[in-house]
């Protein structure tokens, strides 16, 4: 088969799977919103911080100039209600994109206000960015946007590797050691009796082992350069991200569940959710 045909296969399968992908995405996003409420970070629970972090980010500045954090604080409960209902509506009625558009706008605002309140640029944007695909009712437009989001996902991961390489992390043996020490200071201070604290204490005694984990992490991130070149390695990228996610949870207690939604862009996942009982080969280039 020619390479162009397999690229077309991805678009065809993704386009035909649009309804299923939408249902899956918004069901997962609804779960994410429930987790947000449970963990105390819904907009209503965050409202009212007068000291917003704006850094030198033009988007944050625009939000400040338009008083968006103040407006969302004032109408926080209504905002959260619209967010929830648009998410649920998008999961239930999959052949429309009005609720998807409302959700995308509101979730983008929530994402920015959360980061301005928490005073950082957190990379927990899977739900926000992936929502872009569902603005398009046309199957073909949807498929093109989904594939573009896949490139965005690959950029996020590969860029992280590139920054680490550019900043000399490969030869800097103390990098992960110093990071783990600062990151787990709270647990070490309290002599917390958890499996993770025990693991951290053990690893802090073996700098080279920590450095090996860091190199492995960089390698997993670097693999994503393949995503710009071909669909053929998507199974490997899927495994790499799951390993990356697991390692981040075990070693650093980081679990960006929102970003798991980026996996919906990878060819094997598109196939899995797509046509039931029909496994077309996607991305097997000549």
């Amino acid at each position: 088969m020619s390479r162009l045909r397999h690229f077309s296969d991805y678009l065809e399968i993704a386009g035909e799977a649009r309804s299923r992908v939408q249902r899956f995405f918004f069901a997962f996003a609804t779960l994410g919103l429930v987790i947000n409420v449970y963990t105390g970070i819904s907009l209503y629970q965050l409202r009212g911080n007068p000291l917003e972090y704006q850094a030198v980010d033009p988007t944050y500045w625009l939000f400040m100039l338009l008083h968006i954090p103040e407006w969302t604080s004032r109408f926080a409960l209504l905002f959260d209600a619209v967010l929830f209902f648009s998410c649920i509506a998008s999961a239930v009625w999959v052949r429309q994109n009005i609720s998807c558009t409302i959700f995308f706008i509101f979730h983008f605002i929530y994402f920015v206000v959360y980061n301005m309140t928490a005073a950082h640029h957190y990379h927990i944007h899977g739900t926000t960015f992936m929502g872009l695909a569902f603005l398009f009712r046309s199957r073909t437009n949807f498929a093109y946007v989904l594939l573009f989001l896949r490139f965005g996902f690959c950029f996020m991961m590969f860029s992280a590797a590139a920054w680490k390489i550019y900043r000399g992390n490969i030869t800097h043996v103390d990098q992960f050691y110093s990071f783990m020490l600062e990151y787990h200071a709270d647990n070490l201070l309290r002599s917390a009796d958890s499996w993770r604290t025990g693991l951290v204490r053990f690893l802090l005694g073996y700098k080279w082992l920590l450095h090996s984990f860091w190199l492995l992490l960089i390698a997993l991130e670097f693999l994503f350069i393949a995503g710009f070149l071909t669909l053929r390695w998507d199974r490997l990228l899927l495994a790499a991200y799951l390993l990356f996610f697991t390692g981040a949870f075990v070693l650093m207690d980081i679990y960006s569940y929102d970003n798991l939604l980026f996996l919906l862009t990878l060819a094997p996942v598109v196939q899995l959710i797509g046509l039931p009982g029909k496994r077309n080969s996607v991305g097997v280039a000549a």
């Binding site: 105390g40 000291l51 950082h120 103390d174 309290r190 995503g227």
Partner: protein, 188 residues
């Protein structure tokens, strides 16, 4: 080499998208260019972000700098809470301490006025100055918000908050941290 770049997936994608939907192709092309440019100049502009992800070179040391908020003399870090809720409390506190250390002025304003002369001299700067930067009068409002946010998180009223910056040294067997010095930076 030309064939390699021509046939890579991303190139095929944009050629195909150009034929199908020129507006979408131009939009995505602009996103790619802007993301590359912003990455090169190290500018975060949501949704175009920098993905440094803990790559800043860390200095080798057995010394740990730690900021702690004491809620009625009990450290905030001793309370169990969801990770993201903790990020909000600690992150917002970082913003507050930064302003307190800067004499109540927004350090972002100082940074902008020392580096971006073209912006400071522009006609829009008075509007930016009034609308974007935080001011000292928001510090006491933050103190009220922070106390209330902590109360809701730990499930009981918080009377006093003390913010202390501590320096610790890791023991030789990596089992514990020993306090070397501490300094109270704020109390409310």
């Amino acid at each position: 080499m030309n064939g390699f770049f021509r046939n890579m997936l991303m190139a095929q994608y944009f050629r195909s998208l150009w034929k199908f939907n020129k507006w979408l192709c131009c939009f995505f092309g602009a996103v790619v260019i802007l993301q590359v440019v912003f990455t090169a100049i190290k500018l975060n502009a949501v949704p175009l972000l920098l993905y440094g992800m803990y790559s800043e070179k860390a200095l080798p040391s057995r010394i740990v700098h730690h900021r702690e908020a004491f809620l009625d003399d009990r450290p905030l870090s001793s309370y169990q809470m969801p990770q993201r809720r903790r990020q909000v409390l600690e992150g917002s506190l970082r913003q507050y301490v930064s302003m307190r250390k800067h004499g109540g002025e927004d350090p972002v304003r100082s940074r902008v006025e020392s580096r971006y002369f073209w912006l400071v001299r522009s006609a829009v700067y008075p509007c930016i100055k009034a609308g974007v930067f935080n001011s000292g009068k928001e510090l006491s409002a933050f103190e009220r918000w922070f106390r209330e946010a902590c109360s809701k998180t730990i499930g009981k009223p918080v009377g006093s908050v003390k913010i202390v910056e501590q320096v610790f040294r890791l023991s030789d067997d990596n089992s514990s941290l020993t306090l070397v010095s501490d300094e109270q930076v704020a109390a409310f």
